[in-house]
């Protein structure tokens, strides 16, 4: 048998031996819980439920653990709590909505609110300009001419 074929068989056998215990395939129930937990293998930003690396060093044991706890009749939340108790809140896929981490969720909307205030102030400052006072001092014929011209100029604008 050529050397390369031996190598290929060796690679496939090695992969097979890794896959002996479990293929890493999840049930829908396991995926539901795993969707709340972050994959901490540092190679992706997916959840344990979404991570597509079949032999992911982090997700595989987590999925097995979730499945085992579900088989023991544990609720979804108690399984998540158990993982967090073991690994800290880093194990959660999203920051908890309490304490300092609440800021992660609120800051984008605070920023929008702040932006709206800035726009409101900007609009107010632009509309407060003493334009009308100056215009009142101009001869009405001149003003009409300008008005005609403005209308003409802006008629073709986008």
């Amino acid at each position: 048998m050529p050397k390369w074929k031996t190598s290929v068989i060796a690679v496939l056998l090695a992969a097979a031996s890794i896959a002996q215990e479990s293929s890493g395939i999840m049930s829908a129930d396991t995926r539901r819980v795993a969707g709340n937990l972050a994959c901490l293998c540092k190679a992706c930003k997916n959840t344990v439920g979404d991570c597509a690396m079949l032999e992911c060093s982090y997700c595989r044991p987590k999925r097995e653990k979730i499945a085992a706890l579900q088989a023991a009749g544990k609720s979804d939340q108690s399984i998540i709590d158990a993982v967090v108790a073991e690994e800290g809140r880093e194990a959660l896929a999203v920051p908890p909505t309490e304490g300092f981490t609440l800021l992660a969720w609120t800051m984008p909307y605070i920023a929008i609110g702040f932006g709206l205030i800035v726009i409101w102030m900007f609009v107010r400052s632009l509309r407060r300009r003493p334009v009308t006072t100056a215009a009142a001092e101009i001869d009405s014929a001149v003003l009409d001419r300008y008005q005609d011209r403005i209308d003409k100029d802006t008629a073709n604008l986008d």
Binding site: A19, C44, A135, D158
Partner: protein, 670 residues
């Protein structure tokens, strides 16, 4: 050769420093020959970096494994094209590419403006060459691409390298990094003009007119780079995702968002003389976000699948950004008197207002992405606790913001400049709203209950209808006058005002992108262990593993599944997902099989060889509507290219002049 390479980088550094000093000194001392010599130095920097880059590429292609960079990123067995792409496959080479592209852009700018903007050009040159100097410091003194391995010092070297990361040995990776870099680096040009306009106290329109085209071209490259990256992730990583909210992906999105905001708000300055400070701020933000993105990729401050190895570059980037931002802020604050608005906002119901909201939402989206990317670092610094901010967070925060932006994409063009009446708005919004609501009713009737999917598709219909009506109304007017057919009338219409109708086409491309994103709500997948002869059902597809095969070439070993696919009894052919093991780098990679379709893709990944009883693991996915993302990109590209074409009707009209406000009577070219 490596000594020549290192020397050329060192010389380029000296010329760049000279160019900065000579251009500023020449301008301040009113010595035009000094300014001219500074501009000639820019060409010299380009020539020297071209030589350095050529030496590195030559070494990569010919396998000069004495060089550490070549040994780490190339191998004899790699195809020549991937040997070439190893130029930007590692830290040092990609920094050299950055520097070379910046030198190329700088040379083009100097050449194009050799007789124009003579007051501003010394500062433009100085700003560009300051950035160049920074990157040359990095490759000359910190991360040199010409480091020689110990074995190279008179010892015999084994003719093998570690090879390029297998995930990078894919065709889109040949063009994805250069496109992104063309985007990143290109934003330095509008920034340089903005700085020059502030320095010369000319913050009026000239820099805007000059840089709008640059920004558009750069934005196009950045869009292309981002979409190529998405296409690569989709086809290579084996899980069918095109966007993972990885910090480095986010870093490429941030300047793209601020540049998009700039391309919109710049119209306010061109047409109304408004938002001058804001435009300077946006251009500066875009530039510094590019530098920030490069910093994120290279400093290791956040963990990322894309990041280069940990390096000592972080403090250099922080220092450069701190000095740059402080200097820019000082210039803006000291020139506020020159940046006052020339016009007033006449009504809240106006195109001007819609641009304000567009900018607000774009910036909010940018902030949300930045905040989510940095929050783990901030949280750890403040509370000492590590926190994960993964894809679900970004999706939950950004989907509502994105949908609101989509709404504005349709609303903005329907509102008139200066002011709109409620009656005219009712008239403009009627058909797009009817179309959006009709589609929602149809989807609800078909059983679709996914809230965001319903909203997204309704908004897509709303925007698409509004864009098509704009084309139809304009083309109908031309057709009735010139008695031609509708298609020719549409071409004529677009040619008459390329910016406006090219812009609409870009909006249409964005709609198609959103349609593709929305398909994600309806994904199906199955992961199964199969033996030859076994079948599975996925949606309406019937998949049968007929047989397997394996082999080896010089570069990698492979194992392959042969999957026969049929749908509703119709044979769709045999697909061959493959698993590879690259010999030099000793890393595995997937080569997925995809049956692409307009309505959905069938995606198959050979995820694992063997198992109990010689089973093979197949991951199969159905991704509805995903092809519309790639179609949408082509439409965005076409629209952007149309925007770059000069309009047939070169309408010259004076900027709206408001009685009572002193201002120049500027001519604006549409």
């Amino acid at each position: 050769m490596e000594n020549v390479g290192a020397l050329t980088i060192l010389l380029a550094f000296c010329f760049a420093v000279y160019s900065v000093v000579a251009s500023v000194a020449g301008k301040l001392g009113r010595r035009p020959f000094l300014v001219l010599s500074a501009e000639r130095s820019v060409y010299s920097v380009w020539a020297l970096l071209t030589v350095a880059s050529s030496i590195l590429v030559y070494a990569l292609i010919h396998g000069d494994f004495r060089l550490a960079y070549v040994a780490e990123h190339s191998d004899h067995a790699m195809a020549p094209i991937y040997k070439f792409t190893a130029w930007w496959g590692g830290q040092e080479g990609s920094l050299l590419l950055w520097s070379w592209l910046l030198a190329t852009y700088s040379s083009v700018v100097v050449f194009q403006n050799r007789r124009k903007f003579r007051a501003m050009m010394p500062y433009v040159t100085a700003a560009l060459m300051t950035t160049e100097t920074f990157f040359l410091i990095l490759i000359a003194f910190v991360e040199s691409p010409f480091k020689v391995l110990e074995a190279g010092r008179g010892n015999v070297v084994e003719g093998v390298g570690q090879g390029l990361n297998p995930l990078l040995q894919y065709w889109t990776m040949v063009i994805h990094p250069p496109m992104l870099y063309l985007g990143y680096v290109g934003f330095a040009v509008p920034f340089a003009f903005a700085i020059a306009s502030l320095a010369t106290k000319q913050p009026g329109d000239s820099w805007i007119h000059t840089t709008r085209r640059w920004t558009l071209v750069t934005w196009m490259f950045q869009s292309t780079g981002i979409l190529l990256g998405a296409g690569w992730a989709y086809a290579v990583l084996g899980w069918g995702g095109y966007w993972g909210w990885d910090p480095v992906e986010n870093a490429s999105l941030l300047p793209w968002i601020t540049a998009t905001a700039f391309l919109h708000s710049v119209m306010m300055q061109e047409k109304k003389g408004m938002m001058k400070v804001w435009n300077i701020v946006l251009v500066s933000c875009t530039f510094f976000l590019c530098i920030f993105g490069t910093f994120l990729t290279r400093s290791g401050v956040v963990s990322s699948v894309h990041a280069f190895a940990q390096s000592p570059l972080g403090p250099f980037f922080v220092t450069f950004m701190a000095i740059g931002i402080a200097a820019t802020l000082y210039l803006i604050l000291s020139r506020l008197d020159y940046l006052k608005s020339e016009a007033q906002l006449e009504s809240v119901l106006s195109r001007e207002s819609s641009f304000l909201f567009n900018n607000l939402i774009l910036l909010a989206s940018c902030f949300a992405v930045l905040w989510g990317t940095l929050f783990p670092v901030i949280s750890e610094a403040v509370t000492g606790e590590k926190i994960s901010v993964d894809a679900p967070f970004f999706n939950r925060v950004n989907i509502p913001i994105g949908l609101f932006l989509l709404l504005l994409t349709g609303v903005g063009p329907l509102i008139a400049w200066r002011r709109s009446s409620v009656e005219s708005l009712k008239k403009s919004f009627f058909w797009p709203t009817v179309a959006g609501l009709a589609l929602t009713a149809i989807l609800l009737g078909a059983g679709v209950r996914h809230f965001y999917a319903l909203v997204s598709l309704a908004l897509c219909t709303f925007v698409a209808t509004s864009v098509m009506l704009e084309f139809f109304k304009g083309a109908s007017a031309i057709r009735s006058k010139s008695r031609t057919n509708l298609v020719i009338a549409m071409v004529e219409l677009t040619h008459r005002n390329t910016r406006r109708y090219g812009g609409y086409m870009v909006h249409m491309g964005i709609v198609l992108l959103f349609i593709g994103f929305t398909g994600k709500a309806f994904d199906k997948d199955a992961t199964v262990e199969m033996t030859p002869g076994q079948t599975i059902e996925l949606g309406s597809y019937h998949l049968q593993l007929t047989h397997t095969d394996s082999g080896q070439n010089e570069n990698y070993r492979w194992g392959r599944l042969y999957i026969n696919v049929s749908r509703n009894g119709r044979d769709l052919g045999t697909f061959e997902p493959e698993q590879r093991f690259y010999i030099a780098s000793r890393q595995g990679a997937s080569n997925v099989a995809i049956r692409r379709g307009v309505n959905e893709d069938l995606y198959m990944n050979f995820a694992g060889g063997g198992g109990q009883g010689g089973k093979f693991v197949l991951q199969a996915y159905v991704f509805p509507l995903v092809s519309w993302i790639w179609i949408g990109y082509w439409v965005v590209l076409l629209g952007t290219l149309i925007c770059l074409v000069p309009s047939k009707s070169r309408l010259l009209y004076p900027r709206t002049e408001v009685v009572g406000i002193a201002g120049k009577h500027a001519k604006v070219e549409d």
